[in-house]
């Protein structure tokens, strides 16, 4: 009965959103904008969500979510256009798509590849939406049992795992980035005693660093500098033919699509890991399980389907920890969290009580966004790819102005700009030296949660850490954290290999 009630509510929300002309216009407009952002190399869906956050400030929460989720879905899918047609992924999420997408385009099958990725991306998003609806309330209910120690460990785990998996160089750099983010979160008056920390006497810093300008700076400014400093050039795009959804090919690949979607949802649900990792893992799995792995990298349609389904399924997956625990599953989800906070919605275990239909709303928006993405993708792809002809030297300065006005308009505070720019420059240097930005951002967002819960937990236990080992969830989280850290060291790997050798010898 409860399930039927929830289904009823879900379709009611879908109908309500789909029947309102304003929300439909925003939905299609945002999806199109997202696809353009995703398709243009140098622009990312995270930046798209960041810039649009400022524009949604005056909207209702529902409409703002339609706008932001639609640009997120569109942006993640849009990266495939440039990956397929010019061999440059528009977003990191589409990096794996380029491996087989571009050879397909060179063979004259670019239109077919885009048609297939459009349908696969829509299916991926819809499957992830099913998981948002079914799993989120369960996790949310389970999370109500969490105490402060669990929340502290969860936040800490989110930062560590994000640092571990997103670091392009040494894992240690990912952790450093996460701790720098935690430091930024310390700035301002502390939440329990109102003591000013690292404010340098500036009253503007008393309320801490504003999350959204920091995120805009961290993702926008390094991108602008990198593209313009290194004279990034867009190559000649391959010709595009008729774009058809090819339902027959999709039907033949349904098991592979479902597997990729599950990988996407699973990776999306891990805090702080983005669509790019989902795409790569899914591509690797498709290659390893294929009967003809030698065809991968030479224009294999399954490779394109695997990465595109997974990266779009990651969008829904990233909403699960965001909605239930307040921990963003990916960098664009971190931006969404910032936007939700601006609208007075605090995601976390209490969301089912404070906003009973909110999870359903998110799921309904995901469903509508995937439909809108499919329609726009099939009908307008040929027109959208024309944006690939615009040189980045023309649009990057405009993005700079948008970053600035966007940061300022959130709070109408010039101090946000004074903060955004140094953060952006520091993030540029960090990126150049192989430090990932995602853990830093996750650190800024989860820092207050970690700080407050650690001290609250210690207050309850009167300074004792014993409850960590007495409560099953916190013990499990603690052991995972220890394993995540220890497994990165050489001595652990040597020890593990020796143990395996000993066990094998004993077995023989």
């Amino acid at each position: 009965m409860m399930l039927l009630d929830r289904l009823g509510t879900f379709f009611e929300i879908v109908f309500h959103l789909a029947s309102a002309p304003a929300s439909l216009a925003i939905l299609f407009g945002s999806v199109l904008l997202g696809i353009i952002f995703g398709a243009m190399p140098g622009l990312t869906s995270t930046l798209g969500v960041a810039l649009l956050t400022a524009l949604t400030y005056g909207m209702d929460t529902d409409l703002a979510m339609v706008c932001l989720l639609a640009i997120y879905v569109g942006g993640t899918y849009g990266g495939s256009y440039s990956a397929i047609l010019i061999n440059i992924p528009g977003t990191a999420a589409a990096a794996a798509t380029a491996l087989d997408g571009y050879p397909l385009a060179c063979k004259g099958e670019g239109g077919r590849a885009i048609g297939l990725t459009t349908t696969a991306s829509a299916i991926g998003t819809i499957i992830s939406m099913v998981f948002v609806v079914s799993i989120s309330p369960i996790i949310s209910h389970f999370a109500l049992q969490f105490t402060s120690f669990e929340f502290f460990l969860l936040a800490f785990f989110g930062i560590l795992i994000s640092g571990t998996l997103t670091s392009p160089d040494l894992v240690i750099k990912g952790w450093i980035a996460g701790f720098i983010g935690l430091f930024l979160a310390c700035v301002g008056r502390d939440l329990l005693q109102f003591y000013p920390r690292f404010t340098f006497g500036l009253t503007e810093l008393d309320s801490g660093v504003e999350v959204v300008p920091v995120l805009i700076g961290a993702f926008g400014i390094p991108q602008i500098i990198q593209v313009l400093k290194d004279r990034f050039q867009i190559g000649e795009a391959q010709k595009i033919q008729r774009i058809l959804p090819e339902f027959g090919t999709i039907a033949r690949n349904i098991p592979a699509i479902i597997r990729s979607a599950l990988i996407g949802v699973g990776i999306g649900a891990v805090p702080g890991i983005g669509e790019d990792i989902a795409g790569w893992v899914s591509y690797g799995t498709a290659k390893n399980t294929s009967k003809h792995p030698e065809t991968f990298g030479k224009g294999e349609m399954q490779g394109v389907l695997a990465s595109e389904t997974a990266n779009n399924a990651c969008v829904g997956g990233a909403q699960i920890p965001l909605l239930t625990l307040g921990i963003p599953g990916s960098p664009p989800a971190a931006m969404l969290l910032g936007a939700l906070m601006l609208h007075g919605v605090t995601p976390g275990p209490m969301i089912t009580f404070e906003h009973p239909t909110f999870i359903m709303e998110v799921a309904a928006i995901l469903l509508l966004a995937s439909c809108a993405m499919w329609i726009v993708g099939i009908l307008l792809a040929k027109q959208v790819v024309k944006v690939l002809r615009i040189p980045p030297q023309l649009f990057m300065p405009i993005i700079g102005v948008l970053c600035i006005i966007g940061s300022y308009s959130l709070g109408l505070n010039i101090f946000n700009l004074y903060l955004m720019l140094p953060v952006g420059i520091v993030c540029y240097f960090l990126t150049e030296m192989g430090y990932p930005i995602a853990p830093l951002v996750i650190g800024v967002i989860l820092g207050p949660m970690a700080d407050e819960n650690l001290r609250r937990a210690l207050m309850v236990s009167q300074g004792s850490f014993l409850p960590v080992f007495q409560r099953p969830v916190s013990l499990m989280l603690f052991l995972i954290i220890v394993w995540t850290v220890v497994s990165q060291f050489q001595w652990y790997r040597t020890f593990k290999n020796r143990m395996i050798d000993v066990l094998l010898r004993r077995k023989n």
């Binding site: 400022a54 524009l55 400030y57 005056g58 392009p168 160089d169 040494l170 240690i172 750099k173 952790w175 450093i176 701790f179 720098i180 935690l182 430091f183 310390c186 502390d190 329990l192 005693q193 109102f194 003591y195 920390r197 690292f198 602008i224 500098i225 313009l228 400093k229 290194d230 004279r231 030297q393 023309l394 990057m396 300065p397 405009i398 700079g400 102005v401 948008l402 600035i404 006005i405 300022y408 308009s409 109408l412 010039i414 700009l417 004074y418 955004m420 720019l421 952006g424 420059i425 150049e432 030296m433 192989g434 970690a450 700080d451 650690l454 001290r455 210690l458 207050m459 009167q462 300074g463």
Partner: protein, 254 residues
């Protein structure tokens, strides 16, 4: 991102900076009340505002030290000495003058002057047009020699603006001229455009590019600005010459 070998060498220095940063956090955290009374509340260590910064600072120090250790083991003392010798050699000056770094300086100077100097003092529309016209033309022409000339022209204008402001001349002009900073910017934009025109007048391809840059530079602020100001009701950071004119048009105040 740099190549792996260069990255490891840089890691020794970045690790050092990170270690020192962690040390600074710890030193600042130690100044926070640990067991003293704050706001009438007697503190205990586990509720102290210093607890979390101490943990974060200590972790940053530890990770910075680990990074130095990893990098040093890969690079070796011989290579490190070579890097240190390079740092005091004239090669550094040559490196700092390379084209990619010049582009980097141009971007950073543009952003810093826009955010810290222009936005708080000049009408938002005018300073956005200036920012865009300089930024787009410098990079869209794809010519480092031209970029250098345009960058120095912009830098000279910025220095002149700072001097005028510091000498109090702009403030003194207010009694005879409304919005003197905005007029100065307006004249500078025209001056910059004329200067660029003289640089590229013999090159038809660049002339077309310059026209595109100009159109985009003027159209963008006049498209984005009204959306924020009149649709989202966001007052501009500084409302001057152009905003007053736009308000007059918007509200028919003639």
């Amino acid at each position: 991102m740099m190549e792996k070998e260069k990255l490891r060498k840089a890691d020794i220095f970045s690790g050092g900076i990170i270690f020192l940063f962690g040390l600074w956090i710890v030193s600042q955290a130690l100044k926070m009340p640990m067991k003293d009374s704050w706001g009438g509340v007697q503190n205990v260590w586990f509720v102290s505002p210093a607890l979390f910064p101490l943990f974060v600072g200590a972790m940053i120090m530890l990770l910075g030290a680990l990074l130095i250790r990893i990098a040093f083991r890969e690079v070796g003392s011989k290579e490190l000495k070579r890097v240190l010798r390079w740092l005091v050699s004239p090669d550094v000056t040559r490196f700092l003058k390379t084209a990619p770094l010049l582009r980097f300086y141009a971007i950073v100077v543009l952003f810093f002057s826009f955010v810290y100097l222009n936005i708080p003092r000049i009408d938002f529309f005018l300073c956005s047009v200036l920012f865009l016209v300089v930024f787009i033309s410098m990079f869209y022409f794809d010519d480092d020699t031209l970029l250098k000339k345009m960058f120095f022209f912009y830098l000279a204008g910025t220095i002149l603006f700072v001097l005028l402001m510091a000498s109090g001349l702009l403030a003194a002009l207010t009694s005879v001229l409304h919005y003197p900073s905005d007029w100065f910017t307006f004249v500078f934009i025209i001056g910059y455009c004329l200067y660029v025109w003289t640089l590229i007048r013999d090159n038809p391809a660049l002339r077309i590019k310059f026209k595109t840059s100009l159109i985009l530079s003027v159209a963008t602020p006049f498209l984005i600005g009204p959306i924020f100001k009149y649709l989202l009701l966001v007052p501009m950071p500084k409302e001057g010459l152009v905003v007053v004119l736009m308000d007059a048009i918007r509200y028919w105040e003639f």
